[in-house]
Point group: C2
Chain length 458, copies 2
């Protein structure tokens, strides 16, 4: 029996589903900010209560960091585990938002769609709720789900997922399943959803360089005393070669060239480099010379600086030689790169450039390898078919992003994840004025209704 | 008649003189901070009242920026104009102060001296008050000064002296004098005061680089989208050549090598490079290869970065590609360098490195040429003799600092300035825990008592 009754019920009740998403968005669960720890707990409690409201056996589980939410729904046949995260990126710079980042608003979009504008609207609260609402709709119409479903929501995805491995280690038995479902990735294009099968890894690093024992007057000490910020600039500049490649020794060891067959497929994809750049206000591709934008963001490792600060940063002027300088940066890794080796090579690269009378200190912000998943199998085929049924077509894609959970789930649960995404490229996730298309939300729910049906019969 | 009676009176009344300095220090007159404008005005009013309290005809004069204080005392013979500034540098980083920067404290020093610890204790409130107190002591003991004295105190020395030229243009007639005296420079060594005859110029610049139209997610756009902070690092690193010289085209045009005779004198000076660096926690000279530390800080032009900021700077981690990056930096200039040309060459250097789809904006923070003053003349001789009388010896020195007023005073009043300094090298001016030695204050007052006497007879 096809789930047309469930789909019709979804169509008739989008507004109340949106209202629940708004409630979750209003909780500013920024995991990286210690001042928001209570908000993270509130978001976890809200989710556990929401799962329980349609019959799940759900609870908030303490960790050394922000808590996990685990829920189970009974069901015949196979069991799927849905993973999502309730934490969000910081909203700053606040001045660039057109509305309160934690008070969602609906805005008409130029293409006739409607935008849900708020931090977390897309990443990952909006996406996560597409699955939760699909499960709720099934129980509302049919009284039960067509298969067994478990939920795992974490609160540290945006800040390194530190508690995840210990938690999986403890609860792997409870989380046993036949397939893992994740909704934290992109559409192929605005009309075509995608299953993502390649994810990059991440090595996050923070460094502090210290030279003199205090800030100095540049008139009295300029030239002769080492300037920590000048040293920082030299070191950051040294990370890329003139041709745009990463200059760290051994960085590309183990990185394979794209197979010719894949390169050919990608070159025929309807991906418009100019439009991709124009959408973010740019026109000149950066990065490695001679490689396409798609190859660079999907299959090449990267090095990006996320923040730098030091010296006098307030209005006005102060002729000081900064004694310390700080930077946060990360490397996105591809298959073949070992996160630990990349971290060590980076630190050696920096250390070799620190004069004997200066020093550098490092801090870790994440260390995860790239993941490559199979592009066949019955769960994938069933999901692809359900997506095609809803949207007319569906793609298998790579992504430049990193979802460290995927590797960990494979390791502890022994199953691959299916990454299904309804987010559009222009959602400004991690940026001011993040948005989620109302169609992503509505048709995302519909898609999961169909996927659950197809998976139950696979 | 030698001023022994005035000197004896100074010795007997140091505490009450110190109490007045403390009153002035407690006014947080940070000129670069718009929120401190009222405090700057309060400091000006305090000074005008203080000058009037011993008989000066003193007033606060409005400008488009912070006000000037002008005062006149009648007297026979020559007239000297004393210049000082009542504004101070910002106190940040506050966390590095051991006490409130605007609540002066006395601390015993290892050498048996006492430190006056506070922002402005040395630069320039402590130094300025040595002259004011010397004038007050003369009037207290003798009922009058031995020569005519005028006072000019500005409130924008630490933020570009923007109102100075317009003010001198208006009041040059009122400020006519035979010699200008300034107290804003260093001792030669802890036992020997100095008259400084070489000052570097300053070109202060702020720049903001903008790439994409918003901060981006590094997983989705990394490599391919230009990172504003990476571009900033490349540009800042490009400002120095591998040999430490400034890499801007034409930067050294017009810069002359140190005359052999001067180089020989300097090489014999009791200046200990290792001790100079060790005092600030360093051991390896930076800057231009093959040039001594003394040559670099006194007679070579420099380029120093004062502050850089952009991207995610809060605790935790955010994998963002910053859309904008900011930097403040300055060039210290020597004789032969034109500030306008240096500024233009810097901007051209940066502009040539900005990709076509990115942009840079600049802001000026000061533009003054280097100044070289004669090392002879009757006013200098008289001052040098008075200093030697008080301290046993006195030196003629260069300095790496910039005091833009000097060139302007020469231009509008037609006289050279005598820069007399009692500050020690380790005073941490512009840094946390700025201090002034009590001996600098006490013997500084005594020195000015003697200088006024000698100048009146020159």
């Amino acid at each position: 029996m096809s789930p047309d009754d469930v789909l019709a019920h979804v169509d008739a009740t989008v507004d109340e589903r949106l209202a629940r998403l708004f409630e979750l968005i209003r909780i500013p669960s920024v995991s990286t900010d210690p001042a928001r720890a209570d908000d993270c707990r509130r978001a976890a409690e809200w989710l556990a209560a929401d799962l329980a409201s349609f019959g799940a056996n759900a609870s908030v589980r303490a960790t050394k960091g922000h808590p996990m939410v685990v829920g189970h729904m009974p069901g015949e046949g196979p069991r799927v585990l849905f993973y999502g995260h309730y934490d969000v990126q910081p909203a700053d710079p606040l001045a660039l938002w057109n509305s309160d980042p934690f008070e969602p608003v609906l805005r008409p979009a130029p293409n006739g769609d409607t935008h849900i504008v708020a931090r977390g609207a897309s990443d990952d609260k909006g996406a996560l709720m597409t699955f939760v609402e699909a499960c709720r709709a099934w129980t509302e119409v049919r009284g039960a789900l067509p298969l067994g479903v478990s939920f795992l929501f974490e609160g540290e995805e945006e800040s390194g997922s530190r508690s995840l491995i210990p938690f999986l280690d403890e609860t792997a038995g409870e989380l046993t399943c036949d397939a893992v479902l994740v909704c934290d990735s992109d559409m192929w294009d605005p009309k075509t959803p995608a299953i993502t099968t390649m994810l990059r890894g991440l090595v996050g690093q923070e460094m502090t360089i210290t030279c003199a024992d205090r800030d100095l007057h540049s008139g009295m000490f300029g030239n002769a005393a080492r300037n920590a910020m000048a040293l920082m600039a030299d070191i950051l500049a040294s990370l890329r070669r003139p041709d745009g490649g990463v200059a760290i020794d051994g960085f590309y060891d183990g990185v394979e060239e794209l197979p010719e067959a894949v390169r050919n497929i990608w070159s025929r994809l309807p991906f418009d480099e100019n439009a991709f750049l124009a959408n973010i206000g740019l026109s000149e591709p950066a990065g490695e010379e001679g490689r396409s934008v798609l190859e660079q963001v999907w299959s090449r490792p990267s090095c990006e600086i996320h923040g730098v600060w030091g010296g006098y940063m307030a209005p006005g002027f102060k002729t000081v030689i900064p004694a310390t300088a700080h930077a946060k940066l990360s490397f996105r890794l591809v298959a073949g790169q070992d996160p630990q080796r990349i971290r060590d090579a980076f630190r050696a690269h920096v250390g070799a450039r620190i004069p004997a009378d200066c020093k550098v200190e490092f801090q870790d912000h994440g260390l995860s390898p790239a993941v490559s998943m199979p592009t066949e199998g019955k769960w994938l085929k069933a999901t692809l078919a359900a997506l095609a049924e809803e949207w007319g077509d569906a793609a298998i894609a790579g992504t430049g992003g990193s979802i460290p959970i995927i590797g960990a789930l494979k390791q502890y649960l022994g199953v691959d994840a299916l990454l299904v995404g309804f987010a559009n490229f222009d959602n400004r996730i991690h940026s001011p004025n993040e948005k989620y298309d109302l169609s992503s939300f509505h048709r995302g729910i519909r898609s999961w209704v169909r996927i659950l049906d197809r998976l139950s019969k696979a």
